[in-house]
Amino acid sequence: MEEEDRMGLTYSAEKLRFSWDGKRDIFRDVSFSLTTGEIFCIIGPNGTGKSTLMKCMIDILEYQEGIARLDGTDIRTIDRKTLAKRIAYVPQGYQVAFPYTVLEYVIMGRAPYISPFSSPEEKDLEIAVRAIQEAGIMHLIDKSINEISGGEHQMALIARALAQQPELLLLDEPTSHLDFGNQMQVLSLIERLKDRGITIVMTSHFPDHAFMVSDVVGIMKDGSFTTIGPAEKVITNDSLKETYHVDIRVEYVEIAGRKVCIPIKNQPGCYCPVKG
C-alpha cells in the first residue's frame, strides 16, 4: 500500500472560532494538535459544536478565526483533491439518492485518485475490495446500500473512507445509533486502523468509548475544550458532572479491566456537589 511510504502527519488547530451568523459563537478558542497514529476522542453534550468543529477541520465549513494546519500548511490553501487523499471524513448521517451496491459505494472513495474524465480501474477495485474486507462487510459487497442496516451502512461509510487511503480519519459519532455489537465492531476497527498508523479523530456521546480506544480525550463544553489529556486524567466524576449536569460515577470495574462511567439516575439535573 502507498501509505507505507508516507512520512507521518501532524495536524494542529490554533484558536479556532466558528460562528454561523457572526454573533453567537458555535465554538471558540479551540486548539489541539495530533501526531501520527494517535486517537483523539472528543466528548461532550449535544450541540456543543463537535460536528461543526469536525467539518471545519476538513474545510467543509470555514472558521472565522484561528488556523488549522496539516503538516504546517494552512488547510484552506490545500486543494480539495490533495486534502481528500490525506484526510477522510465519515459523516454522522448519510444520504444516498440511488441504491448503489456496497462495492459501488465504497469505490466512490477512490474519487480523489481518479481524473475527472476517467473511471475506476482495476487497482481502484482492488483497494476498494480490501477496504470492504477490512471493515468486515465482505458478505455485503453486492448488497444494495438501501437494503442494509444502519450499523452496516456505518461500516460501508468507514470502508469508503478507507478507500481514500487517508492518513487522518475523522469520524463523527461513529457509534451513535448502533447496538452494543456494532459499537464494539467499530471500536475494534478503530484500534486496528491505529495500529496501521492512521491518525483518528472521533466524536462520541459515550465517555466509556474514550476509555476503550483513545490516546487523548478532549471534553468540549459550551463551544470550547475544558480539558484535553489522557482519558484517565480527563474523565473524572467532577469533569463529567460539570459537562453533563448529572451525577456520573467513573469506577474501575475489575471484570471489564477498565474504568466505566455510570450515570446515577435518581436525581437527574441535580446540581448537588459530588462526593469523592
Binding site: 467543509i60 480539495r80 486534502l83 471484570i255
Partner: protein
C-alpha cells in the same frame, strides 16, 4: 455489577476489544473481477439492439416497398447490381426513412442521456430533461419563428436559442438567491418554465388561427416526419459535444448522489460539475427539441429502464441509456408512422404509451430507487 457479568475477563482494555475481531471472510478478487467482466460484455452485446431496430425500421412504412427490394437496394450500395426497382423506392428508403431513423436514434439517445444526467444532478429519479425550462423556452422560440416566418431552419434556430435562453435564465436566477442549494435551482426552473409557458400562450393567442396556430400546435406535439439530412448535420455538433463530455465524466456523476459535504470531502468541485452537466444536458435537449418538437417521457422513462437493468452506477448506466433511448424512440417513431393510416405525432405517442409503461415499472418496484 450484574450488567457486565458477560464481559470477557481481561485486564487489558484494548485486548478485550481485540477479542471480538471480525472473522476474516475468504474472498477471491478474481471472482469479483470476472463477474464485472461478464456484466460488461453483456452490456456491450446490448449495443446490437439499436442497430437491429434500425435495420428492421427500414422495412416498414406506409409506402409499400417489398422487403426483398429493400435488401436489394441496400446491397446495391456495396455491390454492383441490376436495377429492378423504381426511383421512388430508392428515394423513400434513403431520403425519407433513413434520415428519420437516424434522427429518432439521435433524439432518443440525447434526451435519455440528458434525463439520466439531470436525475443524478438533482438526486431525484422523477426529473426529466426539461426541468430547467428548456422545452418551454424552445416551444416559445419555435412559436415566435412560426409567427414571423415559415423557413424550417429559422424555426429550428429560434427553438434552439429559446431553449438555451430559458436554461440560462433558470441558472442565473438561482444564482441571485446565493444559496447554492440544488432545490433553489429546481424552483428557478419552475419559475422560468411558467414564464416561458405564458409567453408561448400569448404567441398562440395572437397567432392567425387558420394558418399559424395549427402549425404551432402541431410543432409542440413533436414529430420527426419532416426531418432531412441537413437537420441532422445541423444538430450533430451540439449532440456530439454534449454527449461525449457527459460520457467522459459519467463516473463522477455518481458522487452527486452523496450529500454535498461528502462529495466535497471526496475532492469534488460541485459547482464545476453542476455547470458542466447543465451545459451538456441543455445542448443535448435543445438540439433534439429543435428538430423534433416537444417529446416528453423519453428522458424520464429510459433512465429508469436502464437502472432496472444495470443499477444506478453511471459508468454502466449512461452508455445503456444511449442503447435503450435510441431503440425506444425509434420503435415509438415506427409506431407513429405505421399504427394508423395517418401519422400520429410522436410526442403524443411517447406519452400515451410511456405513461402506462412507467406505471408498470413502478408497479414492478424494480425501478432502481423505490
Amino acid at each position: 455489577m450484574d450488567s457486565v457479568e458477560h464481559a470477557p475477563v481481561k485486564n487489558n482494555p484494548v485486548s478485550s476489544i481485540e477479542s471480538i475481531r471480525i472473522p476474516e471472510i475468504a474472498y477471491d478478487l478474481n471472482v469479483i473481477k470476472q463477474k464485472i467482466h461478464i456484466a460488461r460484455n453483456v452490456r456491450i452485446l446490448l449495443f446490437i439492439l439499436p442497430f437491429a431496430v434500425m435495420f428492421w425500421s427500414l422495412f416498414i412504412g406506409r409506402y409499400e416497398v417489398e422487403p426483398v427490394t429493400v435488401v436489394k437496394i441496400l446491397l446495391s450500395q456495396i455491390f454492383p447490381m441490376e436495377r429492378t426497382w423504381t426511383n421512388a423506392d430508392e428515394t423513400i428508403l434513403f431520403q425519407v426513412r433513413f434520415p428519420r431513423i437516424i434522427a429518432a436514434v439521435i433524439v432518443g439517445a440525447a434526451l435519455s442521456m440528458a434525463g439520466a444526467a439531470y436525475q443524478g444532478l438533482f438526486k431525484n429519479p422523477l426529473v426529466s430533461p426539461d426541468i430547467l425550462g428548456v422545452s418551454s423556452g424552445a416551444g416559445f422560440g419555435a412559436a415566435v419563428a412560426i409567427l414571423y416566418s415559415t423557413a424550417a431552419w429559422m424555426i429550428q434556430l429560434s427553438a434552439f436559442a429559446g431553449g438555451i435562453l430559458a436554461v440560462m435564465g433558470s441558472y442565473f436566477l438561482s444564482k441571485l438567491y446565493k444559496s447554492g442549494q440544488i432545490l433553489i435551482l429546481v424552483l428557478s426552473g419552475v419559475i422560468i418554465s411558467a414564464f416561458f409557458g405564458a409567453l408561448l400562450s400569448i404567441t398562440k393567442y395572437v397567432a392567425d388561427p387558420y394558418e399559424k396556430l395549427p402549425t404551432i400546435v402541431f410543432w409542440l406535439m413533436g414529430s420527426l416526419s419532416s426531418v432531412r439530412y441537413s437537420d441532422i448535420y445541423a444538430i450533430l455538433p451540439a449532440i456530439l459535444i454534449g454527449g461525449s463530455i457527459l460520457l467522459l465524466i459519467r463516473w463522477r456523476i455518481n458522487l452527486l448522489a452523496l450529500s454535498p459535504d461528502e462529495a466535497k470531502t471526496l475532492g469534488i468541485d460541485l459547482k464545476q460539475i453542476t455547470r458542466v452537466i447543465i451545459v451538456c444536458a441543455t445542448l443535448l435537449t435543445a438540439a433534439s427539441v429543435c428538430i423534433s418538437g416537444i417529446i416528453g417521457w423519453v428522458g424520464l422513462v429510459v433512465p429508469h429502464l436502464g437502472r432496472m437493468i444495470t443499477g444506478p452506477d453511471y459508468k454502466k448506466l449512461l452508455p445503456l441509456t444511449i442503447v435503450m433511448g435510441s431503440s425506444y424512440l425509434l420503435v415509438m417513431d415506427d409506431l407513429s408512422r405505421t399504427l394508423i393510416a395517418t401519422e400520429i405525432p410522436l410526442g403524443i405517442l411517447t406519452a400515451l404509451l410511456g405513461a402506462p409503461f412507467f406505471a408498470y415499472l413502478l408497479w414492478r418496484r424494480k425501478t432502481g430507487w423505490a
